[in-house]
């Protein structure tokens, strides 16, 4: 994914103008997870917590980056989709990691990343293992990191079994974000997912295991909600086991105060050596996932920008720069330089304000030009982040899909076109893959595209448009929509 890398960190960021210019020449970032709601849609204190967190705010994921450190490898449950012996540097999925860190090593790595990636705003501990069970290492890491970077947001992912024992300590450390993985609220279903748990000094199997796990997960959710800690619930969608049941999970976690619900497709492959992989359990299709997400309307807010990243991922959600920051590349002594992150934050504060204003203007214009019952349209966008159309078609490893109608422009999902281990595919093969990826979408906006791929796309019925290069996504998507609906785009939008 190196072509997807933004090197803002290497730029001399001195002013907002310089940064804007740099982004136009090199592009900026890529995007990834959370609610697309802005400050107008939630209480100010909640917006304050999510506005810089790429996983909790879809808008923030255009601007801010996260990093995970794998410091807590011990786990207290066994899941049928996890194999603890598996590890691959080329694989991108939850729980996979190439090296484990000590709390001290992790603290140095965070500083090295913060010095290079000014978008860094969140440090998460998300496996392999369970951050709340392996608590001493989690806590030691957080305590060391905040000494140098007091403004970084701390975040952890857990199955919830051990979490109730540490909620007060989370409060003491000002942790505002916790992800709970909840795959069921019916222990009978749990028996098909969890062969055993380790609890109260015993290995417990069968229904009793899932019963205890379920009770502790609900207790965790209640305790966190009561204390104002934002909870994202992650659920793995497993066809035939919990797919329909997740609708009930969605309602229950909403009732108990979850901020977001992230339904992720099961990743299953015999080569991973998991129980599900070996017994042929399949993952859901994109259509099945979408159907479930649509059915959850009215329940807990869904996160649709999740990239199911690695446990040692670094960067914006759609990219992973983890391989640039392996411990052999992190110096023994490293000093934090806050200037780049500060400059970047100032820039974002202004930039996102302008983007929001531009989006509002585009919405007003569209509402005036298009009848309110006009069909919605899906448009694919190639972006490196920053909320702009700023990626070359040929460099895109994923496309963001936006839905537009008279009510406005909404992020729907992303579609990847770089399925891991595709090394060896030629350019034409890749284009075929992209065309397949874009199924059901007939328009793509990108910063630039060559004549050949544009003609091939056209032959497949997909129009590639580069006229809106470096524009805001919302402005460009709105203009295309108005044009399709019979209203020409204004000159200002094309300029």
């Amino acid at each position: 994914m190196t072509e997807n890398v933004i090197s803002l960190g290497g730029l001399q960021v001195t002013s907002r103008d310089a940064l804007s210019k740099a982004m136009e020449s090199s592009g900026c970032e890529s995007s990834a997870c959370g609610t697309s709601d802005g400050p107008a849609d939630m209480a100010p204190e909640v917006w304050e917590k999510v506005k810089d967190h790429p996983c909790y705010s879809e808008e923030a994921h255009h601007y801010f980056a996260r990093m995970h450190v794998a410091v807590a490898p011990a786990c207290n449950i066994q899941c049928n989709y996890c194999n603890r012996k598996y590890d691959c540097a080329n694989e991108s999925r939850p729980g996979v990691v190439s090296e484990r860190l000590t709390p001290d090593g992790a603290a140095r790595k965070v500083i090295a990343v913060a010095n290079e990636i000014p978008q860094l705003s969140v440090l998460g501990i998300a496996g392999p293992g369970d951050s709340a069970y392996d608590w001493r290492k989690t806590k030691a890491t957080f305590q060391q990191v905040v000494q140098d970077l007091p403004d970084i947001k701390l975040c952890l992912s857990t199955n919830g079994l051990a979490l109730p024992d540490h909620v007060d300590e989370l409060m003491d450390m000002n942790i505002d974000h916790v992800t709970l993985t909840i795959n069921m609220i019916d222990p009978e279903i749990g028996t098909k997912i969890y062969p055993w748990i380790f609890y109260d000094h015993r290995r417990i199997e069968g229904l009793e295991a899932s019963q205890i796990l379920h009770e502790r997960q609900m207790q965790s959710l209640d305790m966190l909600s009561e204390r104002g800690i934002l909870v994202k619930v992650n659920s793995v969608m497993i066809p035939g086991i919990n797919d329909k049941h997740l609708l009930e999970v969605n309602k229950e976690v909403k009732k108990r105060g979850a901020f977001l619900h992230n339904i992720m497709p099961l990743i299953s492959d015999p080569a991973h050596g998991t129980v599900f992989g070996l017994n042929g359990q399949r993952g859901p299709t994109a259509a099945e996932l979408k159907e479930l997400q649509d059915a959850c309307a009215g329940g807990a807010n869904l996160m649709k920008h999740c990239r199911q990243c690695r446990a040692d991922a670094v960067g914006l959600l759609g990219e992973d720069r983890g391989q640039e920051f392996t411990m052999d590349q992190v110096p023994e002594q490293v000093t934090y330089d806050p200037s780049k992150r500060e400059a970047y934050r100032e820039w974002v504060a202004e930039e996102r304000g302008e983007r929001r204003a531009a989006a509002q203007e585009a919405r007003t214009e569209t509402a005036a030009a298009v009848t309110s019952d006009a069909d919605a349209m899906l448009i694919a966008v190639a972006t490196k982040g920053g909320g702009r159309i700023n990626q070359h078609f040929g460099h895109a490893t994923e496309f963001q899909i936006f839905e537009v109608d008279a009510q406005g422009v909404r992020f729907v999902t992303h579609r990847r076109c770089d399925n891991y281990c595709v090394g060896g595919y030629g350019e034409e093969d890749k284009l075929e893959l992209v065309i397949k990826t874009l199924e059901g979408i007939d328009t793509i906006l990108c910063a630039k595209i060559g004549d050949c791929p544009r003609e091939d796309l056209a032959a497949a019925g997909i129009e590639a448009i580069q006229d809106y290069a470096y524009d805001y996504i919302e402005t460009a998507v709105s203009a295309v929509y108005r044009a399709r609906m019979g209203q020409p785009a204004t000159e200002a939008e094309i300029a």
Binding site: P73, C75, Q78, R84, K85
Partner: protein, 64 residues
């Protein structure tokens, strides 16, 4: 009477280290090792050896 860790199976997650009531398990040379002089197989503490119960890989904590 003691247990040992089968190095090829160990994922080095360290769960056994902090569950061991005898502090018999330590990290050394990229793996965890059980000190046979300290290991009691948890007799007097728990019904089952804790390292065996928590280990994610079967046949990893076995009789020495």
């Amino acid at each position: 009477m003691a247990l040992k860790i089968v190095v090829e199976n160990c994922t080095v997650c360290g769960a056994c280290e902090f569950e061991c009531p005898n502090a018999a398990i330590t990290f050394a040379d990229d793996t965890y090792v059980i000190d046979p002089d300290l290991c009691t197989e948890c007799k007097g503490h728990y019904d089952t050896p804790q390292c065996v119960a928590v280990c994610p890989v079967p046949e990893t904590c076995v009789p020495a």
